[in-house]
């Protein structure tokens, strides 16, 4: 090769022509370059939207995110009160925390310069360290992009017109594949457990289902709930209201997953095999329980496991209380409770049927015979409507109505039915009537959004052709020529805002009387407890206020230290899961009271 290759020597000199050109140098820091619209800079957290589920902290592979308490933010239902803090000495700005944030509160901003001589100054609390960064957000994750799974696996149900034809169960349950997929959506934060009255170990059993260990799931469930099948079918599931996924999507179907877990144990024997309970040695203490409802049975079950000698007194000829005949069969089959009771009896719970305290055995007698007493009487008496003609034939309380139907007796509701009330019992009454081919109208004082009933139940009722007349106040029942109900008169109401800040009250509009023709009126405005069995001497000690028994501590102990109480007659929520929780807490209380642990 020629060393004096002229072209090769001169070509590079061509670069000289660049001399006159304007340099493309960014004159930082005197001028700045625009960062990209999705730049991944420092974190920002919308503290109001964040619920402290800690999913960001879990996904962070650098262990950079801590959950800490922040001044001014306290825990409440559906909010752990914790907020993320990023250790910028760990963070790699991969933004996975943003991708998995179920609420979308976490995002990254366009700021990125963080220079300091102090190595300990790199703890960064998004939203507190940069409160003004809201307008500078760049990397976010909307519901389409987020890795949170916002879509619930749909539950297979009978078709609306199909199901009114029979009392067959409406909900068909998850298949194994569906259950695994649904369980995978859970982020295991535990916000749900916190609001569950019974504090069931929800993240754990869902995770067990997700991993395919259904038996473990059932075992975890039985740790503090002996009625999972009932809860899996008819629970009021306040857990789902606070689910972290529910903020931007559909809550994890916690109830249906529990239902799925219980399907692995179709018989009492199977339950015993799977749960394989450890029964403690008898400790010689005796406990008497009044009422074999969910509260009483729960208390009995866990007391028996702890070695107590437990006897339940039940006025009816069956156990289960309101859950036995109070829930329509299309929601909750009858054999479920029977199976549960059979299982409980197999581990040593004794039940005396047709034994009403106060009639067959006196409370004093029990009080002396047992070391402790648990009262789980529930609500048996329906509230009366307090309007004209409510004692005539064709007018019935919903609980009585459901009881009659569930026992298999017949009750002629006629062609048109009016149901008064907005709770689950009212909807049950309506949907049962719809199954008898009646045209059903629900009269409710407030708006649909304020109905205490489950939204799924309301929806289900509407699918089955039930009409809901909102903002209506019944005034009298119209007596027909045959002495039976022929209609009901009501007033329209308007919602007046409460000056004390409470929820709006319905106020009747003068002269808006309307008459609804009907053959049956079903009242479902609530129930109350009956305390006629309780001797006056005890009423001084065991306080009863507005029909509720007053408990003095978290263990449901009453004024009489020997007597514990639970269930509808004690708690304000009056649902099955609260009753179970009461029973469970009373067990802890009784063992503390009697054994000191």
């Amino acid at each position: 090769m020629n060393f004096f290759d002229l072209k090769g020597l001169l070509q590079p000199l061509g670069a000289v022509k660049q001399l006159g050109k304007k340099p493309h140098t960014i004159n930082y820091p005197y001028e700045t370059k625009r960062t990209a619209d999705r730049y991944r800079g420092l974190h920002y957290n919308d503290l109001e939207v964040c619920i402290g589920c800690g999913n960001c902290s879990t996904i962070c592979q650098n262990a950079a995110i801590d959950m800490i308490n922040i001044d001014g933010i306290t825990a409440k239902n559906g909010d752990s009160g914790l907020r993320p803090r990023v250790d910028n000495g760990r963070c790699c700005w991969c933004a996975l925390c943003v991708e998995v944030c179920p609420t979308g509160s976490l995002s990254l901003t366009k700021d990125y310069i963080y220079v300091t001589p102090d190595a300990n100054a790199f703890l960064w609390t998004p939203g507190v360290s940069n409160p003004d960064a809201k307008n500078n957000i760049s990397f976010t994750s909307d519901t389409n992009l987020s890795l949170s799974m916002y879509q619930r696996v749909p539950m297979r149900e009978l078709d609306g017109m199909e199901r009114v034809k029979s009392f067959a169960e409406v909900v068909l349950g998850y298949s194994e594949e569906e259950a695994r997929a649904e369980a995978q959506r859970c982020i295991s934060c535990g916000l749900c457990s916190n609001v569950c009255p019974d504090h069931m170990h929800i993240p754990e059993y869902i995770n067990a289902i997700a991993q395919g260990n259904d038996n473990d799931a059932l075992k975890i469930i039985y740790d503090n709930n002996p009625f999972p099948e009932m809860c899996g079918k008819v629970c009021t599931r306040r857990c789902e209201d606070v689910c972290a996924i529910q903020v931007r999507g559909e809550a994890v179907a916690i109830r249906w997953l529990k239902r799925y877990a219980t399907e692995t144990a179709p018989t009492a024997q199977k339950i015993k095999d799977i749960v394989n309970p450890i029964i403690a040695e008898p400790n010689g203490k005796t406990v008497g329980i009044i009422g074999a409802g969910p509260a009483g049975l729960t208390a009995a079950y866990y007391l028996a496991l702890r070695g107590f000698d437990v006897t339940i007194y039940e006025a009816q000829s069956y156990a289960g209380g309101m859950t036995m005949f109070g829930i329509p069969k299309y929601r909750f089959p009858l054999d479920s409770v029977k199976k549960q009771v059979e299982y409980m009896e197999s581990i040593g719970v004794k039940i005396k049927y047709n034994t009403k305290v106060g009639r067959d055995i006196s409370f004093e007698e029990m009080h002396t015979a047992y070391d402790a007493i648990f009262v789980g009487i529930g609500f048996q008496k329906a509230w009366t409507l307090g309007i004209e003609n409510e004692d005539i034939p064709g007018c019935i309380a919903a609980v009585d109505y459901l009881n009659i139907i569930n026992r298999g007796d017949s009750f002629d509701v006629g062609k048109k039915v009016a149901v008064i009330g907005g709770g689950n019992v009212a909807i049950d009454g309506a949907r049962v009537s719809a199954r008898y081919g009646a045209e059903v109208t629900i009269l409710y004082r407030r708006r649909i959004s304020e109905m205490p009933a489950d939204w799924e139940e309301i929806e289900g009722a509407e699918h089955e052709g039930v009409h809901i007349a909102i903002q209506t106040i019944p005034t009298r029942i119209i007596k027909g020529e045959n002495g039976k109900v022929s209609g009901i008169e009501y007033l329209k109401a308007e919602m007046i805002a409460d000056e004390n800040g409470g929820r709006p009250r319905p106020v009747a509009i003068e002269g808006s009387e309307t008459i609804l023709e009907c053959d049956t009126v079903i009242g479902a405005i609530g129930q109350e407890a009956d305390y006629s069995w309780l001797p006056e001497s005890f009423k001084a000690k065991i306080e009863i206020k507005r029909g509720m028994m007053i408990v003095t501590n978290e263990f449901n102990q009453t004024g009489d230290p020997k007597v514990f109480a639970g269930g509808d007659a004690v708690n304000k929520t009056a649902d099955a899961i609260s009753a179970i929780a009461d029973g469970y807490m009373a067990v802890k209380g009784i063992s503390k009271f009697l054994l000191g642990n």
Partner: protein, 366 residues
Amino acid sequence: MEKETTLYIGPQHPGITGNMMVKLKVTGDTISSASTHVGYLHRAFEKLIERRNWLQSFTILCRFCVPEPDPMELTYARAVEEIEGREVPERAEYIRTIVMELARIQSFMLWYGGQSGSSGLYLVGQWSVGDRNYILDLFEDLTGGRVYHMYIWPGGVRRDLPEGWKDKALKTMDYLEKRLDEYDKLMFDSTIFQKRAQGVGIIPKDKAIEWGVVGAPLRGTGIKHDVRIDEPYCAYDKLNFIVPTQEGGDVWARALVRRQEIRQSISIIRQALDKMPAGEFYNKIPNPMKWSIPAGSAWVKTESVRGEVGFYVESDGSNKPRRVHVKGAAYTHGVTVLEKILVGQNIADVSFILNSLGVCPPEIER
């Protein structure tokens, strides 16, 4: 006979491509034997991945090789997809192709700087690394990150193309094409570079494959092998491009291959942008904390700038990988191949040859 001395080049040496050391036995100016010493960048990725789940691993994986993180992301994503049987939407395949080629271009621009810098032509580096920023700007708009993009993940890509990105990319490609000619004048036309590069660091053609040479160094010996053609992935089988080869096997041949490849990459990006279908860009994975993958293993290869990158991924059916073993091109180039071809060369050519082989030490030790 002259005395043999031992000479250490690195780890702190301006000519070393990263943080590694070459121990030389020299007689006068001539190298009589060489051995590579690594471990200065060992972060134990493969151990760390055992503690991380399938998605968490993807953010750490791109750090395997600093100059070119994207092939690592892609290879991992493809391996996971192969084991799980997850489909990737067609649009994502095109986006991935574009990202891969952009990554290739930006890595070539860095190579321009290193290769010419190690022969004393610093101006090329000033230009090419400066212009490389325009590619990084494209990446920033697309992925939100300049260097570590963490963009290609199992199931597709993380975000769709932003508005106006296509035009911006095309404009950048036009600009780069013009600039490449300028670099040619400075580098390939320069007698200095030609004289330094020709006949230096020869890889024999008949031994190349057996030695484990891949990528541009292999094509520089005249053997046409490219994973993009042999086992097409992404959208490469739908695009037209040629795989350039050169005879000679020396630094010069490797440089020429790269010079042609960068132009091919620009053409691929243009085609891909043109042919890209509309639609989904991501086949969403389930909740990452509970996402487990059926047991199985996969060996997946991708063509990166320095050659072929292979991932061996093994799953035991849990939510964490059992084993992810990365084989980068540098694993052979930087150790056995380098040790062989350095024999008989000048000390001054060590960093020149290192650059031409594209040795990236973090790829060796991980």
